[in-house]
Structure formats: structure tokens, C-alpha cells
């Protein structure tokens, strides 16, 4: 993709990623309260850990926005329903929004790659690696892992 990105574009994209992380943290928390069934204790623990991790990611993205001269201003528009779910269903939902975040970081990496902005490029690469691990972990828990896949 283009390596002629502007700082304003980078800030906008980082704010979009911040919204992804913040929504994901709330979704994890919400899912952890809804999960029912024999595996509740195990899955709830995983969801709460991921909730905390996504908060950390949100903080990192916020710091990056400030570092490049922007202000964290995520647009959050979250609709959460109060339906009970099984552990598997909770993980399937989590996989959806983790995959969405991963796609967002990948797109951001394409945007800054080769731009000469080493700090942002490195940050994007690191986040892609972390989110890829999250997605893989969830896929493994669901028995959907693809060796050598994306």
C-alpha cells in the first residue's frame, strides 16, 4: 500500500484501533459474566485475562497516539446483549473481534510499512505479532488451529 501516509492518517487509524481494543476489552468482560456451563471457570479465567490484556493494548495505542502528536479519541458504539452463552460460544465471539483487530493492525502495518517511520512500523509489526498469537490461541482452544495458516 501507499507509504506516503500522513501523520493525520496515522492518528486516525490508531484511533480506530484504539476503539477496537476498548470495545474488545468490554466485550471480554461482558462475555466473562455471561458464560455458563461445565467449563465456565476455565473459560471465564481466559476471558478475564484477555480483558486485562486488551486494556494494556489500548493504553499502548493511546500512548502511541500521544507520541505522534494526536489525542486519543476513539468512537465507541457498543451494543451488548445479555444472552447467556456456552464457553465455546464465548470463544467463538472472541475470535471474531480478535480477528477483526488483527486485520486492523495488518492494514495499519501496510500503511506505515516502508514509510521511513521506524517507530510506528515497529509498533504495528509488534501488534500484528501479538494479535496473531491471540487469534491462534483462541483457534487452538476451539480446535480450529491451522498450522502454517495466516
Amino acid at each position: 500500500m501507499s507509504n506516503n501516509y500522513s501523520r493525520a492518517e496515522a492518528i486516525q487509524r490508531l484511533n480506530e484501533l484504539l476503539a477496537e481494543e476498548m470495545e474488545a476489552s468490554m466485550r471480554y468482560l461482558h462475555l466473562s459474566t455471561l458464560v455458563q456451563g461445565i467449563d465456565r471457570l476455565v473459560i471465564q479465567k481466559v476471558l478475564k485475562e484477555n480483558h486485562e490484556e486488551t486494556i494494556e493494548h489500548a493504553e499502548q495505542v493511546s500512548e502511541k497516539i500521544i507520541q505522534i502528536g494526536g489525542a486519543p479519541s476513539p468512537k465507541i458504539n457498543l451494543e451488548l446483549t445479555g444472552e447467556k452463552c456456552t464457553g465455546i460460544e464465548a470463544l467463538q465471539s472472541a475470535l471474531l473481534f480478535e480477528q477483526a483487530a488483527l486485520d486492523g493492525y495488518r492494514e495499519f502495518l501496510e500503511c506505515v510499512e516502508g514509510s521511513g517511520d521506524v517507530i510506528l512500523e515497529e509498533f504495528a509489526r509488534q501488534q500484528v505479532a501479538i494479535e496473531s498469537e491471540h487469534v491462534s490461541e483462541l483457534q487452538m482452544l476451539l480446535g480450529e488451529s491451522h498450522l502454517g495458516g495466516e
Partner: protein, 183 residues
């Protein structure tokens, strides 16, 4: 008495309606639709889009290919067209007949587009088509139309006739906007 709680069980929620119509618009405008495109168009996160699309996929309204390109099933397309047509009909009625400013007409049309019945939308199309008809005559036409829809003897909403009308109204509305912008 009307049971207003039944409105919560509407087959398509407001959010789902916007997802379906966005996919349809993106397909028409650029030939493809991805989660990221829908998210940008709606101004929400990819995560939210993915979660909503999961439900729409399970209901057989949205399809996704191996390249993560989104599409609409036959039923999904019918629903999206229906919602879009209703929006145009209401928007046109509110702005042209009630004299509301176009942005307010658009907002209010958006609020009802997914809730209003096909019968009402057909009746509204009839009204917009035949403004000069006497009211009693129009009422009879609406009743007759309503009866035909209940019998299932007319096309499923939106019929070709209503879609053509909606396209004309949309075209007129955009040319009016362009004229106003020029001024």
C-alpha cells in the same frame, strides 16, 4: 390493542438493517465489500461489524467467500432493497410533502425504514405516485392493495414498480441537492 413489545422482535434490527444496506451499497459502488469497508461506512469498529455479521450469516442473509469478501443472499438482497426503498419513500414524503428539511427527513426516514410494514410502504408509494387522486379513491386503492398483499397476489416488496419509483425519487433528490450545492 397494539403490543408494542412485538416491535422488539422485528426480523431485522436497526443495526442489522444498516449492515445489509451498507453491503448492498458497497457492492453497487465498488463491486466488493469487506468487513473494513462496512466498518468505515457505518463509522463503527470492525469488531462490531464482525459480531453483527455472524448473526446475519447464521440467518443466511449474508455470505462470505474465501477472500473475506461479503455478499448478500437472495433473501438478504430482498431485505436490503426493501429497507432502502422504504427509506427513500419516507424521506421523499417527509421532505416534499411535509416540508421538513432534508437532513431531518433523512434521519427520521432512517428511524422507521426497518420497522414499517410492506403494506404501509406500498400505500405510501401509491400516494407518491398518484398525488392528484381524490382521497376516497386513494383510500380504496390502498385497501385494495393491502388486500392483494395479504393474499400474496402482488410482488414481494419492493415490487419492480415501487423500486422504479424509489430510484426516480432518489435521483430527483440527489439532483435537488446538487442544485442547492451549486447555489
Amino acid at each position: 390493542m397494539i403490543d408494542w413489545r412485538e416491535f422488539d422482535h422485528n426480523p431485522v434490527s436497526h443495526s442489522a438493517a444498516h449492515h445489509l444496506t451498507s453491503i448492498q451499497q458497497l457492492l453497487e459502488e465498488q463491486g466488493y465489500a469487506r468487513v473494513s469497508d462496512v466498518a468505515r461506512k457505518l463509522g463503527i469498529t470492525r469488531g462490531s461489524v464482525s459480531v453483527t455479521l455472524k448473526g446475519l450469516r447464521q440467518r443466511g442473509l449474508v455470505v462470505e467467500d474465501d477472500h473475506k469478501h461479503l455478499g448478500l443472499s437472495e433473501e438478504g438482497l430482498r431485505i436490503a432493497r426493501g429497507i432502502h426503498t422504504k427509506r427513500i419513500l419516507f424521506q421523499s414524503f417527509l421532505s416534499e410533502h411535509l416540508g421538513l428539511p432534508s437532513n431531518l427527513a433523512e434521519q427520521d426516514a432512517c428511524k422507521v425504514e426497518h420497522l414499517v410494514s410492506d403494506v404501509t410502504a406500498e400505500a405510501l408509494a401509491l400516494f407518491l405516485e398518484s398525488r392528484s387522486v381524490e382521497s376516497k379513491e386513494r383510500e380504496a386503492q390502498v385497501h385494495s392493495l393491502e388486500g392483494r398483499i395479504k393474499d400474496g397476489s402482488v410482488d414481494i416488496f419492493p415490487s419492480d414498480r415501487v423500486q422504479t419509483l424509489s430510484s426516480e425519487l432518489e435521483k430527483n433528490s440527489s439532483s435537488t441537492h446538487e442544485d442547492n450545492d451549486d447555489e
